[in-house]
């Protein structure tokens, strides 16, 4: 079931909320059980067989976690074996459904083997659920989680607002909330939930989806080997970046809002990433919960292990500005690239995703290296920040946009076609109708190589206006977390101490003006539901 569907908004959600509040007014555990059952129904709605696939996995993970808890400190080696078995089981489960076909196809490509590719049913949200389950097992083994029942664990894994596309949550940040939540109708939670949900819906159906219609033909043409002029290639690149930006931002807001209806706060997952001034900053704002997971469960253990090995070997380790090149490569570059490789693979079974992850890994390494080198070149950090922040923003923005082409393009050759188009390898064109209206400017444009083409002038105008508006919203406006900061829309979000004038203007309050404004936004979102479209991150 899609969050942006009539059946969800007018059927499933009201029914679940009414049941939750009515049962919660009698017994909390009934309300939580109802919520788990509703989440299972939500999961089964698309393909009932999904439940048959995910339920045994939940039971096995729960049993392993129980075993880990009971073995605990008494038999650390045995506990470690159980943990490894659990991780391997989860990765195999994910690998079988998500990567088997890709692995077979890669082997066929590389060695000419004759594996026959079969269409497997990919359980919804399997990548998110798998990471969540792995994190749970690691936390149990580390003693960070204790005292849990099957009902608790089931609710933690299945809680429908974050089930399909995150955020990837930790047991220790969710269960204390579920244990404390009164399970009753709370006007503040509902008001905040309504606002977050409908802000998110509007982002998805009004801002993101129309962009898809604009860019899809351009990527299809690139995939078919068609060259794109510079104008079209940039529309494709910027258009998709903004489409996925508002799609994911919208989903994240809707997830926060839905959880809030039940009195639950989810962690921050999306925090205006296009405003980032470095690629490190970008990954602290884009899909925050995934970055957090990868850092905690892959990057940190890897770095720790490598550091120990270097120390044991008597080699220098990471030492701030005085870090040696081998130490940088060994302790930072390699773990970073490996972590981002996992991130790429996690996003999808395809070469383009893997290379996208590697590209971001390389960009992160360059950023880290610059952070080490910069103080020697430009010692005054304050002046550097003030002067170079716009440059950092521009470089980050261009890197992200260029990398997004790889994320969206179906093949590597299509990516290359578009990249070449972006640097003008296939010329620069303008629609003939636009060209003919430019008067003398058309002559100057011709002189520098801009050519008229039989492409639609109104389509170009639509693209330019849409991209301009969406960029302005993404770059200049406060996000929903900031707008609702006074009501802690996500875990740990607090109001700014010195908000800007723009931020003050957009500060949400439970008053009549916001209620009216939000009614308009909600209506616009609901009226735009005519064409159903999946969230881009649901495919992962």
């Amino acid at each position: 079931m899609l969050f942006n569907s009539y059946s969800f908004i007018f059927g499933f959600l009201p029914a679940v909320l009414i049941g939750f509040y009515v049962l919660g007014s009698r017994r909390r555990d009934w309300a939580l059980l109802w919520l788990t059952a509703a989440s299972l129904l939500f999961y089964a709605w698309w393909r009932p067989i999904n439940v048959l696939l995910i339920a045994p996995s939940i039971l096995i993970n729960y049993s392993l976690a129980r075993a880990l808890e009971q073995t605990g400190e008494a038999k650390p080696a045995f506990a470690r074996t159980i943990l490894i078995a659990g991780i391997v089981f989860n990765l195999c489960f994910l690998g079988y459904f998500k990567y088997l076909n890709f692995a077979e196809s890669a082997l066929n490509d590389a060695f000419g083997t004759g594996f026959v590719l079969t269409q497997l049913i990919l359980p919804l949200g399997i990548s998110f659920i798998t990471f969540q389950k792995i994190a749970f097992l690691v936390d149990v083994q580390a003693g960070r989680v204790s005292r849990f029942s099957l009902a608790d664990y089931g609710l933690f894994v299945l809680f429908f607002p974050q089930l399909i596309a995150g955020p990837i949550v930790h047991y220790r940040e969710m269960m204390p909330q579920f244990r404390a939540v009164p399970c009753r109708y709370d006007p503040e939670n509902v008001a905040v939930g309504i606002s977050l949900f409908f802000f998110g819906l509007a982002k998805k159906v009004i801002l993101a989806d129309p962009m898809s219609q604009l860019v899809a033909p351009l990527y299809a043409r690139a995939a078919a080997g068609g060259a794109q002029s510079m104008t079209e290639a940039w529309i494709a690149a910027l258009g998709f970046t903004l489409q996925i930006y508002f799609d994911f931002s919208g989903y994240s807001d809707m997830a926060l809002g839905l959880a809030r209806f039940f009195g639950i706060k989810l962690p921050v997952n999306f925090n205006s990433p296009l405003q980032a001034t470095s690629i490190i900053d970008f990954w602290l704002r884009w899909h925050v919960s995934l970055t957090r997971f990868l850092t905690a469960y892959i990057y940190n253990p890897l770095t720790l292990n490598l550091t120990r090995k270097r120390l044991a070997a008597g080699k220098p380790i990471f030492g701030g500005r005085n870090t040696s090149v081998p130490a940088f490569l060994n302790l930072l570059a390699m773990p970073t690239i490996l972590t981002m490789l996992v991130s790429g693979i996690w996003h999808g079974a395809g070469y383009t995703y893997i290379l996208w992850g590697l590209l971001h890994g390389v960009l992160l390494c360059i950023n880290h290296a610059w952070r080490l080198i910069r103080p020697r070149i430009w010692p005054n950090a304050k002046v550097y920040s003030a002067r170079m922040a716009p440059v950092g923003f521009l470089l980050t923005f261009l890197s992200v946009v260029a990398a997004m082409v790889m994320f969206r393009a179906p093949t590597l050759s299509a990516t290359l076609m578009l990249w070449k188009g972006m640097v003008g390898a296939y010329g620069v064109t303008l629609p003939a109708a636009v060209f003919s209206r430019l008067g003398p400017i058309a002559g100057w444009l011709s002189a520098i190589g801009v050519q008229p083409a039989w492409t639609s002038g109104s389509l170009l105008l639509t693209a330019v206006v849409r991209i301009g508006c969406l960029l302005a919203i993404a770059l200049l406006m406060p996000n929903t977390l900031r707008m609702l900061a006074a009501f802690e829309p996500a875990i740990g979000v607090k109001p700014d101490r010195t908000p800007s004038r723009v931020a003050r203007l957009f500060t949400w309050a439970p008053d009549g003006a916001w209620a009216l404004g939000l009614a308009c936004i909600a209506l616009a979102g609901i009226l735009s539901l005519g064409q159903l479209s999946e969230f881009l991150y649901w495919q992962f």
């Binding site: 709370d186 006007p187 009004i206 003939a432 039989w454 008053d511 009216l516 209506l523 609901i526």
Partner: protein, 419 residues
Amino acid sequence: MDNGHHFIRTWFVALCALAGLVVALNLLVDPYDVFGTRRIAGLSLLKPGAKNHALLTKTYQEARAHPVTVLIGSSSTHIGIDAAAPEWPGPMRPVYNYGIPGGAGVSMRLDTLREAIFNGPLKNAVVFLDFQDFFSINRPGDGRSEDDRRYHLLPDGRPNPDRALQIANDMFLSLATMGSLVDSLKTIALQRDPTLLNLAPDGSSNEADFSNAFRTDGMHDLFAQKDDYEVERAERLRRSMAGWQGALPDLNVVRAIIALARANHVKLTLVLTPHHADALEIYWRMGLWPRIEQLKTELAGLVAEQGGDVPLWDFLNYDAFNTEGVPAAEDRRTPTQWYWEPSHFKKQLGAIVIQRMFGTDAPRFGAVLTPENVGAVNQLVRDHRQSRVCGHERPALLTSLARPLPDGCAMPAMARGPT
């Protein structure tokens, strides 16, 4: 939060009130003419929003219009034939233009004719056939489109079980979507615009799209752009037909159209839609002219085989109308007289087509094909081409193709002869 209750109550009441207003506005303006709400001058007389929902609009309009004559075809019929033209003989009125922009494929002609017959009381049907539709062997998928689900009957004549749901969906989409709201507001805001596109209750268009494009871009650009498109299409069709043997695809659908009309006592007229010589030249120069001759021959044979009481009009010739010159690129003011671009003729020519087929005293233009005369007609077209195109001093017909086509003044060898 004390204000929480107040916020939720205000929000909910405002949301319901606004939703009610939107539904009421859409019903009053009826931007797609689905409900047949009375058109109000200054508010909803013109229906520009119907442009992008032609099949939706026309299916409902036709059911309300109860025409005696229906015109079936694609965008060229939609644009070029006026259902209210004075040339229509009295007994054939009222006429409804069921031409569907973008309505490619002979099957769609059959579907719309079946629907028009169901709605009744139909006496005449004029079915315009585009020759390009017979050169594609890529059949559409098995899945039924939203438009198919709207018809009363299934292709086999049984009642359509999906119709009720589709009608409910149409009502909902026309009343409670952002698209319909935007189109309602546009309809109101643009009523005073003299260049506004309109879809009349008889299904005819006012040609505003083309006249606006002419005003801004000139005739040359309209032709040049469509010439390029037509070259691409011809190339695609040539690939599609390479190696095709036997009768052309979709002739069976024409047979079904004739059978359907006969079974329902509807007088049928088949028409090979007029095209500008630019379009004909593209197909000639790309080696597809033998296929066009094959089409004419097979259609004439088919009509005769079905009893010969269905006139088959052929307007695919090089004549005084379609060989009119196209103004030069820099001339954005001079209009053409008969054609908007290679595939779309103007209503002036449409009037002559009507007069030629159903009136008297019309210019000699087009011919009724029969198995007996089709060979001679084909030869005549070649002769006309020779005299009007080859070796002629006036500028080339094709205005400014991105890829020039080789001169084709010699009759190309037929890849496969007509069967």
